[in-house]
Symmetry: C2
Subunit: 389 residues, 2 copies
Amino acid sequence: MEHFNVLRTSLNSKARAGEIKTSHGVVPTPCFMPVGSQATVKTLTPDDLEQLGVRMILSNTYHLYLRPGIDIIHNFGGLHKFMGWSRPILTDSGGFQIFSLAPLRELNDKGVLFRSHIDGSQHLFTPELAIRYQEKLGSDIIMVLDECPSHDAPKERIEQAMARTHAWAMRCRNAFHSNNQFLYGIVQGGLFPDLREQSVRFLTSLDFSGYAIGGLSLGETKVQMYEIISFTTEMLPDDKPRYLMGVGSPEDIVESVIRGVDIFDCVLPTRIARHGSLFSWQGRVNIRNAKFKKSAEPVIPGCTCYTCRNFTAAYLHHLFNAGELLAFRLATVHNLFFMESLMGKIRETIIAGDFTEFARDFLASYNPTDEETRINQKQKWLAKYNNRD
Amino acid sequence: MEHFNVLRTSLNSKARAGEIKTSHGVVPTPCFMPVGSQATVKTLTPDDLEQLGVRMILSNTYHLYLRPGIDIIHNFGGLHKFMGWSRPILTDSGGFQIFSLAPLRELNDKGVLFRSHIDGSQHLFTPELAIRYQEKLGSDIIMVLDECPSHDAPKERIEQAMARTHAWAMRCRNAFHSNNQFLYGIVQGGLFPDLREQSVRFLTSLDFSGYAIGGLSLGETKVQMYEIISFTTEMLPDDKPRYLMGVGSPEDIVESVIRGVDIFDCVLPTRIARHGSLFSWQGRVNIRNAKFKKSAEPVIPGCTCYTCRNFTAAYLHHLFNAGELLAFRLATVHNLFFMESLMGKIRETIIAGDFTEFARDFLASYNPTDEETRINQKQKWLAKYNNRD
C-alpha cells in the first residue's frame, strides 16, 4: 500500500498538503493528533472525536504496556477494537515516556530496564519488544524505540544517545514484519545541526515509511526549535511524511508547517482545557477569570463548536468554579474543535495557494501567551517598575 | 394549569401511574429525577440526559445560591436557560442542605443563619427568601423551606423541628405568587406516626400542589422507612403527587411505588457510578473487580445503554483502573439508563395491570447489597468461622 501522497506544495514555503493512507482510512495532512495515551482521549468518547472531525489519534506503548497490558488489548483484536475507535492510530514506542516518566532506568546493549511509574515494578524494553508490542496493538503507524536525553545535556551525551537510537532503529527495522502497519524512524541529535544531519543520513538509509523529529519542544527556545526543524526537514525526503513529536501549540504548528512538517501530536490542547484555558484565534482565554462570571456570550463568540453553540461563558465559568466534571469535557471539545479548524484552514490554504498569507495573518493576530501569564507578566513588570528608585 | 393526573392505580397495591404537567412539559410518573445540584448532572450534558430519556431533574437552591448566585441565573432567564435544559426542573429549597452541609447554623424566628460550606461566609435563609430564590430560578416545582433534624434525635426535638417546618410552610405558601410554578409542602415528623399524622393534617390544610415526604433514608432501617412511607401516603390526598425526597436505590423505589409514591430523587445512581458500581437487574456490579480485566462482554450483558453497546467490561475496568475521566461519564450513562428502564417498567406494568408481579419478581431477583459488600461480608463470615475453636 502506498502510504503518503503529496497533493500540493506551497510556492513560498515548505508547507505541503497531502494524504496518509492506512488500513483504517485516509488522514489528510498537515494533521494534529489528540493524545490518548491510555486508550482514551481524556473525557471524550470515540464518537465525540469523530464528530469533532479527528482523523488520527496518538496512543502510547509504555502506558498501554503497564495498563491494561499489551496482551489484554491484543486478545481483543487490537487497540482499535479495545477502545472503540475505527480511524487510524499512531503509537509511540514508549521511548520518550521511559526517559521522562520512569524512575531508575538502566541502559544496556540489550535495551532499557526501567521501573513502572505506577507501582515500581521492573521491566525491560528492547527495540524488538517495542516493535512486537506495537504489532500486537495493531496501531497503523508505529515508532522505533529511541533514547531521549535531556535537551541541555552535553554534546557527547546527545551524541551517545543518538548513536544508541540509530542502533535501535536498525534493530526495529529488522524486527518489523507487519504488512498493514507503517514504521517511522526518529531523528535525534538535540540542537546540534551536525548530529541532526548524521541522524537523517543514517535513518534515511534504512528507508522508513516516515520520519519523526524527536527531542524538541523540551525546554529549548522557540528560535532554536524552529531552526532545527528547518534544518532537518530540508534533508528529509520529500515523498515521506514528517512528524514533529510532542508539538504543539497553534503557533508552533503553523511555524512548523511552514518548515515542512506534516504530522503533530501534543497534550497541550486537552491538558490546558482541563485547566480552563481555551483557544481563540487571538490567543488563549482563561474561563476561570472572574470577568466571565456574568457573560451571556459563548466563551469564544462566533465559535461553532458544540460547547460555544450550547453554553454561555458564565455557565462554563460556573462549572470550573464549582469543580464540575462536565467543565473538563466541554473545554476539551472546544480546544480540539479549534485544533481541527486550524488544521483545516492550513490544508485549505495550502491547496488554494494562499497559505503563506494565512500563516502571516494568523501569527500576527494570535498571542501565544496565556491570558493569565500576560497578567502575571504585567504584574511583575509593574512590581519592578514600582521598586526602582 | 392542572398539575397532576392519575391515569391508572394498581389493584393490589397503592402504586399509580400518572402525569405531572408543567410549563416545560409533561413528566410521566412514577419518575426518578437525577440530581444536578450545581446546575449539572455530573459528567453529562443536557443532550445526554435527553437521550437517556430523563424527563425531570432535581437542582438545589442552596448550592445555586452559593455558586454562581441566584441573580446571575435569574439574569440569564432562569435555570433552564443557564444550564441549557429545556425539560422540567424541581428545586429543593435548600433546607436539607443547610442542615446537612453548612456548619454553625443558628435558627431563629426569622429563618436560619448559616455559614457557607465553601468559604465560611454567613447567610440567612428565610421561608420568604427560599420562595423568592426559587421563583427567580424559574424551576417548575419548588419546595418549602423545612428544618431537618437528625433521624435519631429525641422526639421533642423532632416535634419542635416539625412545628417550625409547619410555620415556615405557611409563610412559604403566603409568599408564593408565581403562576407557572408549583409549590410542594414537606411532611416531617421523623419515625413517629403521630407526628407524621399531625404534619400531613397541617400541610394538607394549606393545599399545596404536591406533598413531599422528608426526613427519611437518613440512617433508619428500611423496615422503619417503609412503615413511615405506608402510613404517610395513606393519609395524603390521592389527587396530588407524592414525592419521597432523597430516595433512592432501585429496591427502595420499587418498595415505595408499592406504597403510593410518585416522584423520587437520589444521588445514589450517579455517585456510585463514579465509584465503579453499576446496576444490573440482579444487583450492583463493581467494575473495578479484577474479574473484569479481560472480559470481552459488556459490563451488563444484554444492556442496551450507550456504554454497554459500545464498550467491553475490560475497557471500562481499564478506564477506572487508570483513573480516566471517561470512566465516570460512561458509568453514569449506564446507571441513569438503568434507572430510566426501571421507571419505564414500573409505569408500563402499572398501566398493564401486572405491576405487583413485576415488583415481586424484581425484588426477588435484585440483591441490593453491593458485590464488594457481599464479598467483605463473606470474608468476615469466613474469618469468624475460621477463628472459632
